[in-house]
């Protein structure tokens, strides 16, 4: 905290862009994309204005979670290369201002969702914000190496909220979209943490490579990758995806497994990277030789998830008939 207080003595005045950065715009854009897919896949005639309001509420709710996360985690953000430039640790915005912004936007987004759209979606949005801000940020993140596995639920819920906004309910297919992101998160995040683990170790965050070592992490990435592919193919059997989706899920899944296997057999995460020294300013996502396989899986995991959701979105917008193989 002393470090934070020292940082917060910065005299640079807070600009509106600093407050916008608190909302994690890049995360917001991903949340909007998956929520929109859920909303469209519900195949209900929601009024376009109400649909747009629902997506806006989900985006603002995600932003509010981000602001609360940056307020609570400012002490560890200040110690990590990836996050030390964030507005609170950089001293641009006071922690209390970030917290106030998070609380106000949470209340506005949930109330507007409830009054304008429906209370099932509003309830799910409130649960997601609370889960991310309280269960993940305040509790799991500093306590267990399973933090991102359980906390991943918050990132997986937006398609369910989008579906509920259109439908007023959350059927099994909505939860299947949630399950895909939920099972995808560990392999995606641990692939990243294999080459940024020194950052987490310095901040005292119990990420899997820090607590259990690189070999165990690579093994768990492989197991979660094997678990992931059936979930990704399942929508073609449950009346959600069509032929294009089955092709993308199947072919992409094969590439995913190949990359995960290569990572499993590699030595990624086992050699310290001199660029991760506190004073280093090299590119965070630069690749060192031993971590190339981790970087490849991390990059492909983003592409694969984006392709799956984009294909589902495209199929439903085009009105293609789902396969319903079961």
């Amino acid at each position: 905290m002393a470090m934070l207080e020292a940082l917060n003595t910065s005299k640079a005045p807070a600009r509106w862009q600093d407050f916008l950065q608190l909302l994690k715009p890049r995360v917001m854009s991903l949340v909007v994309f998956t929520a929109l897919t859920g909303l469209v896949c519900a195949d209900r005639n929601i009024h376009p204005v109400l649909g747009a309001v629902a997506i806006l509420c989900i985006a603002v709710g995600a932003g509010a979670s981000g602001a609360l996360n940056m307020w609570w985690d400012a002490d560890i953000d200040a110690k990590m290369r990836r996050t030390r430039g964030r507005p609170v640790p950089a001293g641009k915005v006071q922690g209390s201002d970030a917290a106030a912004l998070g609380v106000v936007l949470s209340l506005f987004s949930v109330m507007l969702m409830g009054m304008a759209v429906n209370w099932v979606a509003a309830g799910l949005l409130a649960f997601t914000i609370l889960f991310y801000a309280v269960v993940y940020t305040m509790w799991l993140k500093r306590w267990t190496a399973q933090n991102i596995v359980i906390g991943g639920l918050a990132g997986a819920l937006p398609p369910v909220i989008g579906w509920a906004a259109a439908d007023g309910a959350a059927p099994l297919n909505a939860w299947l979209l949630c399950a895909i992101i939920f099972v995808w998160t560990p392999s995606h995040f641990w692939a990243l943490s294999l080459y940024t683990s020194e950052d987490y170790a310095r901040a005292g965050v119990p990420m899997m490579p820090v607590v259990r070592g690189a070999a165990s992490t690579r093994r768990q990435v492989w197991i979660y990758s094997v678990l992931l592919i059936p979930f990704c193919i399942a929508p073609a059997f449950t009346g959600l995806g069509s032929v294009a989706y089955l092709a993308v899920a199947g072919l992409g899944g094969a590439v995913y497994l190949l990359l995960a296997w290569r990572l499993f057999r590699s030595k990624a995460g086992e050699t310290p990277d001199p660029r991760n020294a506190p004073e280093a300013n090299g590119g965070l996502y630069d690749v060192r030789a031993g971590a190339r396989d981790a970087r490849n899986l991390f990059a492909f995991s983003i592409l694969y998830l984006a392709l799956l959701f984009a294909t589902l979105l495209g199929e439903h917008l085009a009105g293609l008939k789902p396969l319903e193989l079961l």
């Binding site: 640079a12 005045p13 807070a14 600009r15 509106w16 407050f19 009024h47 204005v49 109400l50 309001v53 806006l56 506005f108 507007l112 009054m115 304008a116």
Partner: protein, 50 residues
Amino acid sequence: MSDPSRESDAEAKARRGRNIALALGLLLFVVLIFVVTIVRLGGNVAERPF
């Protein structure tokens, strides 16, 4: 000698930017509530029994 309690140009500019952003946010919220009200009211008026 400058007054330390006086706002610098950079602070004044930053505050003005924050105020404009807040004003636009509030305006957007008011417009949003108005449009949502019209949409929801419109549907209910169309479905009301005579």
